[in-house]
């Protein structure tokens, strides 16, 4: 089995462009959630989202083009033969909005395959490409599949790119489902009342150990284990028993050959919705006694949907490297089950492994075990 190394990362979120902007913003407890300007929110439950201001004006092309440009502009070199796996829930859905409104638009980013082609073209990648759609676990699953491909010796280098936009389409849908908070995103807080959306993108370049060495790339950490499982319970609500997430967690730990006690911290999905966060605490409480330190970044970035797994994996790698966990922005009074484990302040951690989890509509759950990079 080949070890799977992360050798290059990049991201853009409402906290700014680049990994440092994200990390420093998180550590400082800042939030990128601001009033939405790109469409009217008068009739929606929330008026707030984690938009990237530079994308507000971009039309008639999809805002996705600008997002990709911001993500990769000035980034490192990606070998041309690298396989590409993109992950998105709604791709350039702003083009569908424009078309329904009979506004001037093109229709070249409306499904995942078009997005993968676009990213490959932007980077000059000639290897195979694929897009993964699995609701808000899309990029976590994309990373798991990329890691499995390398571990099995089927590929030497895979670029995973997760990306999604804040659109009126998705905003209105979550509002109609009464899933948005009218006030603030407060993951794991007793007064949490819903999620807030965000947009963003992230890429992670994965390589086998051999390719990593040949290319002279430093390893930023390893993806040591992964698990994917469905609740088979409800289309839009998580299972209250956390059964799917528990299955995925066990798979990931087994595959990484680590015990729960070796996990130094958890980057939870932590959307700030009543049921998701409760489910996660139940699932984590089933496997961990006591819970390791855990946090969520969604009070800072918003819920970036198909991109969140990739963004949070980057945060997890940084957390391991820095041996600290950024604060959970928005948290005031933790749920009793998370008391002393989730904090509005930076938490020190100690260990080599971190677990990151995501869940989505359709009852899908995915998680990764990350291992600290060694210089």
């Amino acid at each position: 089995m080949n070890a799977v190394h992360v050798v290059d990362i990049g991201t853009v979120t409402a906290l700014g462009r680049g990994v440092d902007a994200l990390w420093e913003g998180l550590r400082a407890g800042r939030t990128g959630l601001t009033p939405v300007r790109r469409f009217a929110t008068d009739r929606y439950l929330s008026k707030i989202a984690g938009c990237i201001p530079a994308l507000d004006a971009q039309r008639p092309a999809s805002r996705l083009d600008g997002l990709v440009e911001m993500l990769f502009d000035g980034g490192g070199t990606i070998p041309a033969d690298t396989m590409l796996i993109t992950a998105t829930t709604k791709a350039g859905i702003d083009q569908v909005e424009a078309s329904v409104r009979s506004e001037s638009t093109s229709l070249d980013r409306i499904h995942g395959g078009q997005v993968a082609d676009f990213v490959a073209g932007r980077l000059g990648l000639t290897g195979p490409r694929q897009n993964i759609g699995a609701a808000c676990a899309s990029s976590t699953i994309a990373l798991a599949l990329a890691a499995a491909r390398i571990e099995q010796g089927r590929c030497e280098a895979v670029l995973v790119c997760g990306l999604d936009l804040v659109s009126e389409f998705v905003f209105s849908g979550f509002s109609a489902l009464h899933a948005l908070s009218a006030n603030a995103c407060r993951p794991f807080d007793v007064e949490r009342d819903g999620l807030l959306l965000g947009e963003g993108a992230a890429y992670l370049l994965l390589m086998s150990e051999q390719r990593c060495r040949q290319a002279g790339r430093p390893s930023l950490g390893r993806i040591a284990g992964w698990g994917i499982a469905a609740d088979a319970h409800h289309i839009t609500a998580p299972s209250r028993t956390g059964e799917g997430l528990i299955l995925a967690l066990r798979q990931a730990l087994d595959r990484a050959h680590v015990t729960a006690a070796q996990i130094a911290a958890v980057n939870a999905h932590g959307t700030g919705s009543v049921y998701n966060d409760a489910m996660e605490l139940v699932a984590l409480g089933t496997l961990f006694d006591p819970l390791p330190p855990l946090h969520s970044i969604k009070g800072a970035t918003g819920h970036t949907m198909g991109a969140c797994g990739a963004i949070e994996t980057i945060v997890g790698l940084r957390s391991l490297a820095a041996q600290c966990l950024p604060p959970t922005v928005g948290l005031r009074t933790p749920e009793p089950a998370g008391l002393g484990r989730v904090s509005a302040r930076v938490q020190p951690i100690s260990g080599d492994y971190l677990l990151t989890t995501n869940s989505g509509f359709g009852g899908i759950n995915a998680c990764l075990v990350l291992e600290r990079g060694r210089p």
Binding site: E97, L107, G133
Partner: protein
């Protein structure tokens, strides 16, 4: 890696069918593409012809009935053929013992995909369950739930979104169809959507990778794509095209006027092993015996006609 295909289900313009196993209780013969084509219930083991509303008569008999070149029939005479055109009207009672309470809410993509998954599991004898099972679900699609997207955003685009439909929104992810199937059949394995590729085998290839990498022992996988409803205007997509005068829109290539692209859903039940299985996946090429299988129609034909059953 050697693997077995233990069931197949399909919804195509040529009809609704399954194989190679026996389905009791419901006759699924339906070979016309005409709208309104419906299957009629039959008693288990009953013989004789079945008549659908388009007055097509297909003999229901044991064994494989002759089929035109490129077509395949299941053991009751249902025709498998990939092609374009309207899909048969689907009702969940056709393939579920108890009708699905939300089936009427599904968009056309979810109806076709869910039905084909149900038929595949039923033909494999895996539709009944008491404990959830770690089966995976993978689908390849190009258009996905675009029709649901359009229908949903129609409700959100007026009155400032005040009337946006939460029921429609739930079906604006192509993976929702997989979620519905996982709930109905208690499937807890990996579940995701990939882009379709020429040959329509992308979903099956992805599922075979899951088996090969030890991420599952059984995966239900296939392809699902539907054409938009005809006359879907004003929600037909249109876009600006280089070289056209301003304001003159070109029809979206995903919505071809003549609907030339195949539509429907085909799912198979894939299980790893045994070593004597004729189906093989090496990570790049799928073979049956020594023959490469380059497209979904060839694979389905082989399964339906039992050309490559494990017993051989």
């Amino acid at each position: 890696m050697r693997f077995t295909i233990s069931g197949i289900g399909w919804v195509t313009p040529s009809g609704v069918g399954s194989g190679p196993g026996r389905i009791e209780g419901v006759e699924l013969s339906c070979r016309t593409a005409a709208p309104g084509c419906r299957s009629e219930k039959r008693t288990p083991g009953g013989g004789g012809p079945t008549r659908n509303r388009a007055h097509e008569v297909i003999s229901a008999q044991a064994g494989i009935a002759p089929a035109p070149a490129g077509d395949a029939r299941d053991t009751r005479g249902a025709v498998f053929r990939l092609g374009s055109g309207p899909l048969p009207v689907l009702k969940s009672g056709q393939f579920l013992e108890t009708p699905h309470p939300r089936f009427g809410r599904f968009d056309a993509y979810a109806k076709a995909g869910f039905s084909a998954v149900a038929l595949a599991l039923r033909s494999a004898g895996l539709d009944r369950w008491t404990q959830k099972r770690p089966f995976g679900l993978v689908v390849g699609t190009c258009r996905g739930c675009l029709e649901a997207d359009l229908a949903y955003f129609q409700t959100a685009a007026c009155d400032g979104g005040a009337l946006a439909s939460p029921n429609l929104f739930a079906y604006t992810l192509p993976s929702t169809m997989l979620g519905e199937a996982s709930i109905q059949f208690g499937l807890t394995g990996p579940s995701y959507v990939v882009d379709d590729a020429p040959g329509h085998l992308a979903g099956i290839h992805a599922a075979l990778d899951l088996l090969d990498w030890g991420l599952g022992e059984t995966v239900v996988a296939g392809w699902c794509d539907v054409s938009p409803k005809r006359g879907h205007s004003p929600f037909s997509l249109h876009h600006d095209s280089p070289g056209r005068p301003p304001g003159e829109k070109e029809e979206c290539p995903l919505f071809p006027r003549e609907a030339a692209a195949p539509c429907g859903a085909v799912f198979v039940v894939l299980t790893r092993g045994p070593e004597t299985a004729p189906w093989q996946w090496d990570g790049r090429e799928l073979t049956a015996g020594t023959e490469p299988v380059a497209d979904l129609a060839t694979l389905a034909q082989g399964v339906v006609e039992k050309q490559w059953s494990t017993k051989r």
